[in-house]
């Protein structure tokens, strides 16, 4: 099956119209020395039925979360995804549409983006949001570059409480721009504020903290706010979990200048790490807004005075500003932003809070019980949101593999990040039975 609709007869007529005998003739503009003189060695050319059978077979070589009770988090969370989302974003006018440059035929996409931007602003306590970035990691990097441009400084203080993969992406983006990254260590599972204070000076572009952080802990945002206020030029970048923001005070209220993070928890399928959703929002200050990377939708009027939406402030972007653009962003995560928009609309004021609350409460119920066990200790009992770090005298590898035999994915082995311990996250999806069973099994170890 190929997707070429024209029949042989139609193609021959078209060739006549062009004035050639065969289609190969048109390719004569490719020099012989460069032409491929054999067929492509790519297997395929199969029917829809065979394709589906084949992919089903492939899927059966995986063991997905369907067969497990999962406590995996660390940047990707197993929250409940309302059924209507997939139906709505499967409407072809949404998902087969291009970037909304021809605004009059793209009011659907543009209005969804506008609603997305609005709700992200509400959640993060900021005034302006963009239409999406590629993921939480690259969004953090873009926020850092933005802060460097605004402050005209090069020093970036990165909390060790930031997801290690995000720190790595930040380095990858920042080193070629001669940014100077200083890692601020931890005290327990939160940012060491003494170290932060010692490293703050007038050459700092930004302080970057995660909220809740990689270990699930809530940082001392009040103190961090006070510290950074001593230096006018320093920006506070907060990398936030959007579900937690359903319950926690917004970073905007703690003086954040830029808020960014991973929007996956807002209704996006786990999908082995992507496509995900980078969100970015900032203060309502001209010099900030003009430095935002990526697309932005704005409301305006049409020739008859009706409300309509367009992409705006495009002179920041690469298609106009080229080498002076705020970023190279072109294709973004628009459909994932649409997913999150519908999620935020569906859950709404009460629902998002309830997801956050239930995740929080179930996580604390579990953590208390684990902490009581002899061989396990919860490190951040007093300041975590719905993810926590567990230490054990037993082999972490063995603990997790034993739990896996029982069809439980007991958490992320922190050896993945050259640390010791287990990172466990609990969402509203976990039942009392599942939580109790996990404790039972751990107790017996």
């Amino acid at each position: 099956m190929d997707y070429v609709s024209n029949t042989v007869t139609e193609r021959n007529d078209m060739l006549k119209e062009i004035g050639v005998e065969t289609v190969e003739e048109i390719f004569n503009s490719i020099p012989e020395e460069v032409k491929l003189k054999r067929g492509l060695k790519v297997s395929g050319g199969i029917s829809e039925l065979f394709l589906k059978d084949y992919m089903k077979e492939i899927s059966e070589k995986n063991s997905s979360l369907v067969g497990y009770t999962s406590f995996l988090g660390a940047g990707a969370y197993d929250h409940y995804v309302p059924g209507i989302i997939d139906h709505l974003i499967s409407r072809q006018e949404f998902y087969t549409a291009y970037t909304p440059y021809q605004a009059e035929l793209s009011q659907g996409t543009l209005q969804v983006i506008y609603e997305y931007q609005s709700m992200i602003c509400e959640l993060t306590g900021m005034s302006v949001a963009n239409a999406s970035l590629l993921d939480g990691g690259s969004a953090t990097a873009e926020a850092i570059l933005m802060a460097a441009r605004i402050s005209r400084n090069k020093k970036i203080l990165l909390s060790a409480g930031l997801h290690p993969a995000y720190r790595e992406v930040a380095h990858t983006y920042g080193v070629p721009k001669n940014l100077d990254f200083v890692k601020i260590g931890l005290e327990g599972t939160t940012t060491n504020l003494t170290e932060l204070e010692e490293n703050l000076d007038k050459d700092v572009a930004a302080v970057v903290v995660q909220y809740p952080n990689f270990y699930g802990s809530i940082e001392d945002m009040e103190k961090i706010q006070k510290l950074k206020q001593q230096y006018k030029k320093v920006l506070l970048i907060v990398v936030a979990n959007p579900i937690a923001l359903g319950l926690l005070k917004s970073p905007g209220e703690f003086g954040a200048d830029i808020v960014t993070g991973e929007g996956q928890p807002l209704g996006n399928t786990l999908n082995y790490g992507g496509p995900y959703l980078g969100f970015l929002s900032c203060k309502d200050e001209r010099k900030y807004i003009r430095q935002i990377p990526g697309r932005i939708a704005g409301a305006t009027e049409d020739a008859e005075g009706n409300v309509g939406y367009v992409l705006t402030l495009q002179t920041r972007e690469q298609h106009i500003r080229r080498e002076k653009a705020t970023s190279n962003m072109c294709t973004n995560e628009a459909l994932n932003a649409a997913i999150s928009t519908i999620y935020m609309a569906t859950m709404g004021k009460a629902g998002l809070r309830e997801v956050a609350e239930k995740s929080f409460k179930k996580a604390h119920y579990l953590a208390e019980k684990i902490d009581e066990l002899d061989k396990f200790k919860v490190l951040n009992m007093n300041d975590f949101f719905y993810e926590f770090k567990v230490e054990t005298k037993l082999s972490v590898k063995k603990v997790l593999s034993d739990l896996k035999q029982e069809k439980i994915l007991g958490g992320v082995n922190l050896s993945r990040f050259d640390e010791e311990g287990i990172l466990l996250s609990v969402t509203e999806k976990r039942t009392k039975e599942e939580l109790d069973r996990l404790v039972q099994l751990m107790e017996a170890m």
């Binding site: 003009r290 495009q314 002179t315 106009i320 500003r321 002076k324």
Partner: protein, 127 residues
């Protein structure tokens, strides 16, 4: 196309008017027409020193961006703050209310390198 006689002009379509050692700089009617509706202007800070033909600001329309360059070496004495909220003044009155910066010239002889209105008119016809 308006090309006032008492001004000096650059190839990048800036103009400068003189009053002793002080000057006022803006962009020409031709330039504002090319740009279309102006939506944003970026200007330097007061007291900034500039060399002749150094970039001092940016003027943006919806779909285009134009750098602006100073016709003379100078120190910026005043910037047109009204343009922050009313960038359209440049479109409406490019030689008057749409002025960009006021400057103190460092070297009046540099004016010899600029065009007068007749030369600028010919320059426009050639373009």
């Amino acid at each position: 196309m308006s090309t006032p006689n008492d001004l000096y002009y650059t190839e990048n379509h800036e103009w400068i008017s003189l009053d002793g050692e002080e000057g006022v700089v803006g962009i020409t009617e031709h330039a504002q027409e090319e740009l279309g509706d102006i939506v944003y202007v970026e200007l330097p800070t007061v007291d900034e020193g500039l060399d002749q033909f150094e970039e001092f600001g940016v003027i943006e329309s919806v779909k285009a961006v134009s750098d602006v360059f100073t016709p003379v070496s100078c120190v910026v004495t005043e910037i047109n703050e009204s343009l922050m909220d009313q960038p359209e003044l440049i479109n409406e009155d490019p030689y008057g209310d749409g002025w960009l910066i006021k400057v103190e010239l460092k070297d009046k002889s540099e004016l010899d390198e600029l065009m007068d209105s007749t030369e600028y008119k010919s320059f426009l016809e050639g373009e």
